[in-house]
């Protein structure tokens, strides 16, 4: 089974993340993922990169984001690590609670966890490992 292994280190810049997203999504297309799985990976990758750059590294140009992706026809595994202070998943408010519905942010983790097969946080929240199996 063919596997694409991709590795990137980018500055804390949303524009720099576009090329990473493009290359990973190209590998997902080449591996023949279903439409639903492709949608899930694209959305979760966007959310995880924005989290790392904006909320993790707080757009600090001196900090970097490290990305690894392994994609084969069975699954895509994406690991993203920032150089920020980390966070505790348990302390992130539930955005679906009635009192939080009108808040403009805080839905990225919910979407990643809903759309990926598994999402794990490590290194005190600086590192996220997401897997999406193909349908």
């Amino acid at each position: 089974m063919q596997q694409a292994s991709l590795k990137f280190t980018i500055p804390s810049d949303l524009a720099a993340s576009r090329e990473v997203q493009q290359q990973i999504m190209d590998a997902v297309h080449r591996a023949g993922f279903s439409e639903n799985a492709t949608f899930a990976i694209k959305l979760s990758l966007e959310e995880a990169l924005v989290n790392a750059i904006k909320h993790g590294n707080k757009l600090d140009p001196k900090k970097h984001v490290h990305i690894q992706a392994k994609v084969n026809s069975r699954q895509a595994e994406i690991v993203i690590e920032d150089e920020g202070p980390g966070f505790d998943r348990k302390c992130v408010p539930d955005p679906t609670a009635d009192e939080n519905l009108t808040k403009c942010s805080g839905r990225g983790l919910l979407l990643m966890e809903a759309y990926m097969t598994s999402v794990e946080y490590s290194n005190q929240g600086r590192k996220v490992r997401m897997i999406r199996k193909n349908d």
Binding site: T102, R107, A114
Partner: protein, 119 residues
């Protein structure tokens, strides 16, 4: 940095401002910010604004786009206006369901239904 033209088209149907997204992705923060500013300007045109967002072309959106929509909803409400969303594809509607934002927004299946739903 050059200003980007927001990827939306605005038309008017009676007293309703109808906004179509002209890009199939509402992901990029720069685009989202441009859309937000354009929608804010439409809302601020008068009292009790009526705004319809047509999602017919939209295949992808991010949580940042959802934030922009909530900001729009809050602003419309603050001016005693009405906001409707229409033509949302099933895959995108699922994002609204997961986030429970289908409870917050008035979502209609077609533009015709949405236009008819304004008071």
């Amino acid at each position: 940095m050059s200003e980007q033209i927001p990827p939306i088209a605005v038309s008017t149907h009676k007293d309703v401002r109808v906004v179509e997204f002209t890009n199939n992705k509402i992901l990029d923060e720069a685009n989202i910010d441009g859309i937000r500013k354009t929608l804010e300007a439409l809302i601020d045109e008068g009292e009790r604004p009526k705004l319809l967002l047509d999602f017919a072309t939209v295949d992808h959106l991010s949580s940042a786009a959802l934030g922009m929509l909530i900001n729009t909803n809050n602003r419309v409400k603050s001016r005693n206006g009405q906001l409707r969303l229409a033509n949302i594809k099933p895959q995108i509607f699922e994002v609204f369901e997961i986030t429970k934002l289908n409870k917050l927004f008035k979502i209609l299946s077609s533009r015709t239904e949405a236009l008819a739903s304004f008071n």
